[in-house]
């Protein structure tokens, strides 16, 4: 497991800070058109500065830096050394909600303000959703399966499910799953208009290495689409019921972010006997809303909490903004 968050990149250090409710320094981004300021949490640049000499990243946006930093940390944590032989048996799955929004906005701004003939092709190349996955595959030397999945926060759980599927196909031995987001003023503006920015928006990445072994196991729900926000609670109830394994949960990490999601989750979890004695946490109360990356940060935080208590089962319910409701069950064996 690995991550890059506004609180740092050290697994145990960030876990402790989140557990204690510590928040990073609140910053702001300004909409240059309206002058409006938005609160946000940003990743300290020094956390990814060591990647600055990578030629593939020379012109890329920070989203690719976050993705590679988290993935390399996860590979190191898993003891995965990518040789040509292991790389041939490794897949990359990248999950994102808003993609390379910084370069997308900048490129379109050039089209609008300077004319299409003045817009930079260097920016455009990095606007594709799969640019970070491409840089990551190049960094790891992977020439086989590389997938980028998009959606709301549930995209991260869909990526875990895809990892499970690819492993079941038996063509690979391990899968690096990364979820990532970057911040831009237009994104803050968008979530504000959408009334989904009650918790400050954030940026960063989380990554896990999936394989047949390991101390922790993740079982990802396939997801349930919801067409109206009021259907989210029922969908979450169903998702939790459909998770394999019916024992109680020791840890729950839910996605409180001050929106309809809280009400839906509260409603679905209020009658859930399996979480009656679970310790409850919310990473978003510390490090904000990182959309797709948040869901994977929650999964990692849950696994770390389980490691901390020695063993057990954890629940990460994920209600996306406008796509799917999902959930993941994380179990950890005693060391």
């Amino acid at each position: 497991m690995g991550w890059v968050t506004p609180l740092g990149a050290d697994l145990e250090g960030v876990r402790r800070l989140i557990e204690s409710g510590v928040q990073p320094r609140l910053q702001s981004v300004t909409n240059p058109e309206s002058g409006k300021e938005h609160r946000c949490f940003r990743v300290p640049p020094e956390l990814v500065a060591h990647l600055g000499r990578n030629p593939r990243l020379r012109r890329s946006s920070v989203i690719s830096y976050f993705a590679i930093a988290a993935a390399l940390a996860a590979c190191e944590d898993a003891g995965l050394v990518l040789t040509p032989e292991t790389a041939a048996r490794t897949a990359v799955i990248f999950a994102v909600s808003d993609g390379g929004v910084v370069y997308t906005r900048k490129f379109y701004e050039q089209v609008v303000k300077q004319g299409a003939n003045a817009a930079s092709p260097l920016l455009f190349a990095e606007t594709v959703y799969n640019a970070p996955a491409s840089h990551l595959a190049a960094q790891l030397g992977i020439d086989g399966a590389s997938y980028t999945l998009v959606g709301d926060a549930s995209a991260a759980i869909a990526a875990l499910k895809m990892g499970e599927q690819l492993l079941a196909l038996r063509g690979i031995d391990q899968c690096v799953v990364v979820a990532c987001e970057e911040l831009d003023w237009i994104l803050c503006e968008a979530y504000n208009v959408w009334r989904l920015a009650r918790t400050p928006l954030s940026e960063g990445a989380a990554a896990v290495v999936l394989s047949g072994g390991g101390r922790c196991a993740i079982e990802a729900h396939p997801g349930i689409p919801f067409f109206r926000q009021r259907d989210a609670a029922d969908a979450l109830r169903r998702a939790i019921d459909e998770l394999p394994g019916c024992g109680s949960f020791d840890v729950i990490v839910h996605g409180d972010n001050g929106t309809f999601i809280d009400k839906a989750a509260s409603s679905a979890l209020a009658q859930e006997p399996r979480i009656a004695t679970a310790s409850a946490f919310s990473t978003k109360r510390s490090i904000g809303e990182t959309v797709a990356a948040s869901a994977l940060i929650d999964v990692i935080f849950c696994a770390l909490q389980l490691r901390q208590i020695g063993a057990g089962a954890g629940l990460v319910p994920v209600i996306g903004f406008n796509h799917q409701v999902s959930a993941a069950r994380i179990t950890c064996k005693p060391q």
Binding site: A131, A137, D143, A145, T148, L149, G151, W194
Partner: protein, 407 residues
């Protein structure tokens, strides 16, 4: 992607499909366009192209069904196209209920994102701005199509650039083949947008001239748009419920070329590995393929590497064409649209043409289906899609035994 302990291999049937492209709405209109070799690339009317070199694209025709349903009238064009393709497939096989959905796209509802950006400097009601955001997200078209068909399946939305549509079909195929699912709806979509149009123009990948894939004097691509959706089902399951089987997906290959974000390795190793893996997955030799629906964007880089890779693997014995010469390049929708064209080619035993073709490129030796559709015995087709980020995908589509011309 080889394995020493391969999972059981189930056969994968296509029981229905729907397609929207610049050639028309629905399979019959597209078939007619393919047989005619119609050039559907026209001057762009949707946005300002006064400052771009390229001024043409392939646009899908208007949607009478969407216009007739008030709830769908305001949907983004991407939603309308994916919904129309899904509804056509549903009409072909009304009993099909997907357990899973895999859809490819590159830009989702990008034009709504453009309008949202522009709304920062213009007065637009808050409600309208929220509508733009909701319709910008790539998942919106998938949810709209599910709602229109009464489906409620988990979905994976693949954004592997221009390979997305083929990746979606390929992944769905693998899920069924391995027995993880019985029924999967899959496909891809993308709609024209100013931002993407300007992007390809800035890269000098698009042309101010005719689109001439594999021609010595090719000068670039024209963008297109569209959607295609397929209902894939485990063979015995489809037979058991009496579903009509239109074609069989038998192979899928994926590769990642790490050479450069937007340029393939000049050796053609990326496309070649995807094609080799697809053939291995289908347990077919190159000599058994009757036609290749090439990615064929008509850019120097793509055709240079794809032409070389095809030439190395197949020589001149397998006919090749790029239907993008007629439709333009529909990005995340392209692979799915071209898979639909491939099924039409199998069903109607012809090879779709590569129009605007004037002069062979001496860099390779290919049998290009030049300018006119060609009647042919078509049992097996390889369809290619390659994208930015070095994503390469190929699938093998086969005739249903007993349904062919010679059967």
């Amino acid at each position: 992607m080889s394995s020493t302990t391969a999972p059981p291999r189930r056969r994968v049937a296509v029981t229905a499909f729907g397609v929207v492209s610049p050639l028309g709405l629905g399979a019959p209109a597209n078939l007619e366009g393919l047989i005619e070799g119609r050039d559907a690339i026209r001057p762009v009317a949707q946005f300002d192209v006064s400052k771009t070199r390229c001024k043409t694209a392939g646009a899908a025709p208007p949607f009478p069904e969407a216009d007739a349903v008030p709830a769908r009238r305001r949907l983004h064009r991407a939603s309308q196209m994916l919904t129309a393709a899904s509804r056509e497939a549903q009409t072909m096989d009304p009993a099909f209920i997907p357990e899973w959905m895999v859809i490819g796209t590159t830009s989702g509802g990008m034009s709504c994102g453009e309008s949202f950006y522009r709304s920062q400097t213009t007065r637009i009601p808050l409600r309208e701005r929220a509508f733009l955001l909701a319709n910008y997200m790539p998942q919106k078209a998938v949810l709209d199509a599910q709602a229109a068909c009464g489906f409620s399946a988990p979905s994976q939305i693949i954004a592997n650039a221009c390979a997305s549509g083929t990746n979606a079909i390929g992944h769905a195929f693998m899920l069924i083949r391995a027995g993880l699912h019985r029924r999967v709806a899959c496909g891809g979509y993308d709609a024209l947008s100013e931002m993407v149009f300007a992007g390809f123009d800035s890269l000098q990948a698009s042309t101010a001239e005719k689109v001439r894939p594999f021609d010595k004097n090719r000068s670039g691509l024209a963008l297109g748009e569209g959607a295609a959706v397929f209902f894939l089902e485990e063979w015995d399951s489809a037979l058991a419920r009496g579903a009509s089987i239109l074609a069989e997906i038998t192979g899928y290959g994926i590769s990642t070329d790490n050479h450069h974000l937007t340029q393939p390795h000049p050796s053609g190793i990326g496309p070649r590995m995807a094609m080799e893996r697809a053939l291995a997955s289908a347990v077919r030799d190159a000599a058994e393929i009757d036609y290749i629906n090439a990615h064929g964007t008509a850019t120097a880089f793509n055709d240079g590497t794809e032409g070389l890779a095809i030439s190395q693997l197949f020589g001149a014995r397998t006919p090749v064409s790029s239907t993008k010469s007629m439709t333009g390049h529909a990005l995340g929708g392209a692979g799915s649209i071209e898979a639909a064209f491939s099924i039409l080619a199998i069903q109607n035993q012809f090879l779709p043409p590569n129009i605007n073709y004037l002069e062979a490129d001496p860099a390779w030796n290919l049998d290009i289906v030049a300018n006119r559709a060609r009647p042919a015995r078509v049992r097996r087709i390889l369809s290619n899609s390659f994208g930015f980020g070095g994503t390469n995908a190929s699938i093998v589509i086969e005739e249903v035994p007993g349904k062919g011309a010679a059967a």
